[in-house]
């Protein structure tokens, strides 16, 4: 109770319409932002200062090894040590082509390079609605997998054939990662719909597939792909190892995607299905136009999470003898000239994965924001 105040406020009526005034100084703009975020109160200010000091210590101590004392050009580890005490990045420079292409024939390396550049042209229209001439470019996205296949494998249009066993490095990571991602999303959607189907046979098959794939470690599936599959296939059939890996990785990730999307579908209120039915849409129209777009939107964080996991899991192909970037790194370490430079090599591979995964993560955040229609 505040008797005096209520006395004066009682019966208060605004007699004139008041103009809108600018906010008080220090509550908006740069100063306002700094105050709100970095120096809001004592604790907040102390945390800010602590963080700045910590960052400074980290950067100043690490920059010596990473940059200042680092050696960019040298012929071996011994030469590096003679020049300076920091990181010996020269090993990356010497091995960069192998990191990129594995053992792909040197004369043909323009082919994966072209594929890599075209990859951006192919995924651009899929990911960005504002892509120039998007409709027409989607046709290119559709033929891109075939185009890449022909370019990389050769054996047609006068291109010399290249065995998949020679594929390696970042190129291999991208082939397995991008194929797995692109193929497991549609398959995962079908499995999620299948699991919710009214048809018992479809539902049972979907559940069995999902539960089996999810219940087995990827490494086991890769071993099955590389060795055991031969027992099941008719003798004499040649079934490319990389292709088997692609299928296994796709199936594995599709099972996870299916469960993520099922979660999204279950969050769609029954009213949405009913409204769609009441205006006469059939099952596939309802799914495509009403429920799936909403379910996918809710599932974006989970889907991207699965994709990032899949992308990093491509390094597991090393156990069946495919030379992913880690495999190439091992090969470099086994070289007597560069023996013992595991820090440099693993950090470089880590950087490659981090850049890819961080890009996926940022894209998913951007996409979520763009699709948020509820409270715009």
């Amino acid at each position: 109770m505040a008797p005096q105040r209520s006395q004066s406020a009682r019966g208060y009526v605004a007699k004139v319409s008041l103009p809108a005034l600018p906010p008080p100084i220090g509550t908006s703009g740069l100063i306002g932002w700094l105050r709100q975020n970095l120096f809001y109160n004592l604790t907040n200010s102390l945390m800010t200062i602590f963080t700045v000091v910590l960052l400074w210590l980290l950067v100043s101590s690490a920059s010596g090894w990473f940059v200042i004392d680092a050696v960019m050009q040298a012929g071996s580890k011994q030469e590096c040590l003679k020049i300076d005490s920091g990181a010996c990045w020269a090993v990356i420079g010497k091995r960069i082509e192998q990191f990129m292409f594995g053992f792909y024939p040197e004369a043909e390396r323009w082919r994966p390079l072209v594929c890599f550049l075209l990859l951006f042209v192919a995924i651009g229209p899929l990911l960005l609605p504002s892509f120039p001439a998007r409709r027409q470019m989607l046709w290119f996205s559709a033929i891109y997998p075939v185009l890449t296949g022909v370019l990389l494998l050769g054996g047609a249009f006068g291109l010399p054939p290249v065995k998949t066993a020679l594929f390696g490095g970042f190129m291999l990571t991208l082939i397995v990662g991008v194929t797995g991602i692109a193929a497991s999303l549609p398959l995962g959607i079908l499995l999620a719909l299948g699991r919710q189907s009214k048809l018992l046979a479809v539902r049972t098959l979907s559940v069995m597939f999902i539960e089996f794939m999810r219940g087995v470690p990827l490494i086991t599936l890769l071993f099955v792909a590389s060795t055991m599959l031969n027992y099941f296939l008719p003798p004499g059939t040649h079934f490319d190892l990389l292709l088997r890996v692609l299928i296994m990785v796709t199936f594995f990730s599709a099972a996870y995607i299916a469960e993520v999307i099922r979660g999204g579908l279950q969050a769609i209120p029954a009213g949405q299905y009913e409204a769609a039915q009441s205006i006469g849409l059939n099952y596939w129209q309802t799914t495509r136009l009403v429920t799936l777009p909403q379910a996918l939107k809710i599932s974006i964080p989970g889907i991207v999470n699965t994709f990032i996991g899949l992308y990093k899991d491509t390094t597991l192909v090393i156990v069946i003898g495919l030379l992913d970037p880690l495999g190439i790194g091992r090969a470099a370490l086994a070289d007597a000239n560069w023996n013992g430079l595991s820090n440099e090599i693993y950090l470089f591979v880590a950087l490659f994965f981090f850049v890819s995964c961080f890009a996926m993560s940022r894209y998913s955040l951007w996409l979520e924001k763009r699709l948020a229609t509820e409270h715009r």
């Binding site: 009213g271 409204a275 849409l281 059939n282 136009l289 229609t373």
Partner: protein
């Protein structure tokens, strides 16, 4: 005494009650069509439905004529919503028959699609598609079900959005609209399919008093165009003003049906009397 603008709902109920008591005819009421056409558009015979073991609808018999406006009321859990949801087969009936526009509702998908094209439905919770704009919500059906070209569908949608008086919201998303506006968009969305029957499942129950009026006004205008309407509602004022027939349901049965005047002035069954005294008694 409540000021009139604060609660139209109460006012309307009071009006309904006073009319029920005095038998005074409201002057503003639109002309009733009576049994406008004598062509029956919905015919329900000996229809029964169960939810598991629970017998929700028991021996429902109902015939609706073209252009008729029917209000269905009754206590909650009496099966009103289930009944109208059976008419476009959002719920499946287990016994008896439902014939809509001379087509019997069976598990045959072809029949079902034809019926759904001609029967519009408006829900209590609007059920607009949140990822589509108001305009896209309205054009979805015409484009995909009637295979209408996009430009034509948009023109049609704008025509109906104007009719429900929100053409300026066409580019917005449902989440940016008030409840009343959303419900009017939902009405426009159904009308875009050019149905000959409209079902309303408690269209105003999720709305604030002010918004109830705008939605009811839209429905009254729709009634004036001669649309066949089945409305589940607790808005007795609306029933009084617009309905050709009021149906009272209790425990899965149609307990009483009559013209609104007789229904409100002279209810026959005890259950109707006690229901009316409760709903109009405050």
């Amino acid at each position: 005494m409540t000021p009139p603008s604060a609660s139209k709902r109460t006012a309307r109920k009071t009006a309904a009650r006073s009319k029920a008591k005095n038998g005074v005819k409201e002057k503003t009421a639109p002309k009733r069509s009576g049994k406008a056409g004598n062509m029956s558009v919905i015919k329900i015979g000996q229809m029964n439905k169960w939810y598991g073991d629970f017998h929700v609808l028991r021996d429902i018999n109902l015939e609706v004529y073209e252009g008729e406006r029917i209000v269905i009321c009754g206590p909650s859990g009496s099966g009103k919503s289930t009944l109208i949801r059976c008419i476009n087969r959002l719920e499946v009936h287990h016994k008896g028959c439902i014939i809509v526009n001379n087509t019997e509702l069976t598990s045959d998908l072809k029949n079902l699609e034809t019926i759904r094209k001609n029967v519009g439905m408006v829900f209590q919770s609007f059920n607009l598609f949140p990822h589509l704009t108001v305009l896209e919500n309205c054009t979805l059906g015409p484009i995909w079900v009637h295979k209408m070209p996009q430009a034509e569908a948009e023109a049609l949608a704008m025509e109906y959005l104007e009719r429900v008086r929100i053409p300026e919201q066409a580019g917005k998303y449902p989440g940016q609209l008030s409840g009343g506006q959303q419900q009017r968009v939902a009405i426009a969305r159904s009308l875009c399919m050019k149905p000959n029957i409209m079902l309303f499942d408690e269209p105003t129950s999720a709305l604030d008093p002010e918004m109830i009026k705008e939605v009811l006004d839209t429905m009254i205008e729709l009634a004036e165009t001669g649309m066949t309407m089945l409305v589940v509602t607790h808005e007795m004022g609306f029933a009084n003003k617009v309905a050709d027939r009021v149906i009272f349901m209790d425990e899965g049965q149609i307990v009483e049906q009559n013209e609104p005047e007789a229904f409100f002035n002279n209810p026959q069954s005890d259950r109707t009397k006690s229901f009316l005294s409760q709903i109009l008694g405050h």
